[in-house]
Symmetry: C2
Subunit: 425 residues, 2 copies
């Protein structure tokens, strides 16, 4: 072969081409033409600030204002983030440790939780290794890993068991090349919140197989009355945990891109991986310094009543949607305990007019102008995911329309049809 | 081999371990103990805001204030950045196109120029391919590429020719696996500013070999009186150029992490690489939205007199340091035409007490408490790099101390010594 090129033949790298956004791919392949007679209701958007009903707290905003006006936070920060900002995160996250104390050097500030997850996966897993991720699960894990030839192996969550992991199936996936178990608790898209007992079971598997945990805890504290968030790192001293969090959801500021990694590794079992993580932070120098400067105040001065009110809104939306959709024949909503989503099972045999969940979603938009995400976006066909962050009147209207749609397309199964006919006769 | 692990053996990924920060590695290996009798003067820090003499413009700060107070920029932006923000960058950068018009869809906002560079390199180059980068040059290129097994090949800049590239040597590096030529203009660490003729020469090579250009133009417009910044994309319609820029340097806000990529590709020769670039932006969802919201005002309302004043400061510092150090035997400063740095050659034979530039820098700190970066940090031993952003009194004092240090350690060469002796006799 010639040593030189003889024409333009630029190609994208495999990494960049294999950085797929599954949601975008699926949504773009749909043929969507919303019903012009009905206003569009998007129950698809994972941005809680979209509708204006959920806003960042005044105290959060003021903290940023002060940080900006101080003029002290325009310069570069330390690669891991400003010391005082990391101190604030360490304090805020103290409950994640059995002993209740975190050293600021164990905190790494990142550009959003996405970046935190990217660094954890990329620092732990080499090409050809695998990471266990939940199904249904947030598609970013796949997006981040696949381009680097890191295999993603799905462990199954069981809807009938509050979306707990199928432990036997999970354990069967593990081999010498398993670099990490990724746990997303509370979960997107399930809205599930694991109790301590289940976390212990997951930790026990990791301990048995010497596998570190990446905990996506971006919905930490985002739990409904009756549930309690337990950080997986707080139930083990044996298994190293990289906890990924941030301001994004709880503080309702996704655009600010403030995320973090907290390294829990009592016995220094992560070895060189901690250096690896810190190296990764040096690639792009993390997160905006104005927000870093505001972190100490954001984390201490945003009042509990603010969080309570947000949770209240989400919880009452969850109850509303659950109650309404539970009554719809062919739908099987699973009541969430946290986060901002609800999964709804579709009874395939009763909606046989639709090829799959994606087709169902497409026709639902086209007839009713209600847009949900198909479970396929979360590697879980046969379900819909709705968001609970829309204004409740909108949610109610959406549920009415979904019910109408289901009523129109619901097909009784053959036996029922025969029985009906017999009765009618 | 057993299918399962039998003990803890977590290892960092090759990517994370090979994400080296050369500056940090070199600096940390030094044995530094500044002279306690002299106040430390760091001429090493690439953060222009460190000393308080250079500050962001009021207009820049106010634009962010308005963006924050609008409450409209807390949500997620489009993967590439908000449309209006990209429009603003497109307008601001219109001079980069021969025809003077850029479409906002050709703009991708990123988390700092670092992230822009990361995406360009990673989207264009596959494992085993190579990217041509300047020597001396900014070490981040290496940091970003090496972990992904993308080879970095150095083309030489010639200090005696205003740091122009050695075109013959550059061309000799090119083969079928050359994915891009990276041009950093104005340059860190050289402070050089290329004229149109030299850019044309570089473009001609790329055209001959069908190689796209990654242009690191973060110091765009940061040029001293008498020089003019020419964007490499403005001198070609044939060679695709990915221009990386941002607010960092010119607006003196490095911590804000606002960078961008502008795709110049008149003949669509980048092919799938544009999709690849956009995919990359989906990994961590770019830059802080408050700053995005402020971009239109920052880019149009920051007054020219502000930029002029900053340039004036840097230029007069450059003149001061050049004039003082030029007189020091054994030093060979190269007058910069832009950016914020000056390179100073060390006459090896006259400083034979020192093993190399790193050793020289170490002893300079230990005796005089003046800290420069050794050229080795930029793959260019035998030089020092100083920053021009410190207050001028501090710079003057630093130059006096450097002169004193050189005077103490300067060794005449043998012939000169002999001649001296003969004269004395
Ligand atoms: C489970 C989960 N993890 C991580 C993220 C990303 O968070 P961030 O916006 O902070 O990058 C999301 C966002 O939707 C999420 O749902
Ligand atoms: C040549 C060059 N490119 C890129 C960067 C990084 O810019 P940013 O801070 O916007 O990531 C720097 C910073 O020093 C630089 O000198």
């Amino acid at each position: 072969p010639a040593k030189q090129r003889t024409g333009w033949e630029i190609k994208a790298s495999a990494l960049s081409l294999n950085t797929h956004n599954r949601i975008r791919n699926i949504v773009e392949a749909m043929q969507i033409k919303p019903n012009p007679n009905k206003a569009m209701i998007p129950l698809s958007i994972g941005d809680p600030t979209t509708f204006g009903n959920l806003k960042a707290a005044d105290e959060t905003m003021k903290a940023v204002l002060r940080s900006l006006e101080s003029g002290k936070f325009n310069g570069y920060a330390h690669t891991q983030g400003h010391e005082t900002s990391r101190q604030a995160v360490a304090k805020y996250s103290a409950h994640q440790r059995p002993e209740g104390v975190i050293d600021p050097s164990d905190v790494l500030l990142c550009s959003g939780c996405s970046s935190a997850l990217e660094y954890c996966i990329l620092a732990l897993a080499d090409r050809g290794q695998n990471v266990l991720v939940p199904r249904p699960g947030f598609c970013l894990y796949h997006t981040l890993a696949e381009g680097l030839d890191i295999e993603v192996r799905y462990y199954e969550l069981l809807p009938e068991q509050k979306w707990r992991a199928d432990l036997v199936q999970l354990e069967s996936l593990i081999d010498k090349n398993t670099a990490a178990l990724l746990i997303n608790n509370p979960s997107n898209p399930c809205g599930s919140v694991y109790d301590e007992a289940h976390l212990q079971q997951l930790v026990a598997i990791c301990e048995r197989h010497y596998i570190p945990i990446i905990a996506d805890e971006i919905y930490e504290h985002f739990v409904f009355p009756g549930s309690r968030h337990v950080a997986v790192s707080s139930v083990t001293r044996e298994v190293p945990v990289l906890s990924c969090g941030g301001l994004t959801k709880r503080f309702l500021v996704p655009g600010w891109r403030m995320g973090w990694i907290i390294v829990h590794d009592q016995h220094q079992r992560l070895g060189t991986a901690v250096t690896g993580l810190k190296n990764m932070c040096g690639r792009i120098l993390g997160s905006n310094t104005i927000i870093q400067g505001a972190l100490p105040d954001i984390l201490t001065k945003t009042p509990q009543c603010y969080f309570d009110r947000v949770i209240e809104t989400l919880y009452s939306n969850a109850q509303l949607a659950y109650k309404m959709l539970k009554q719809v024949r062919g739908l099987n909503p699973v009541m969430p305990n946290g986060a901002m989503y609800m999964m709804i099972g579709l009874s395939k045999e009763h909606f046989s007019a639709f090829k799959d969940d994606t087709h169902f979603v497409q026709e639902l938009v086209n007839e009713q102008s209600v847009f949900c995400l198909p479970g396929s976006c979360f590697a879980y066909p046969g379900y819909l995911r709705i968001v609970l962050t829309v204004p409740s009147a909108m949610l109610e209207e959406a549920c009415v329309r979904i019910a109408e749609f289901c009523y129109t397309h619901y097909k009784k199964d053959n036996r029922a049809l025969i029985e009906d006919r017999l009765l009618e006769d």
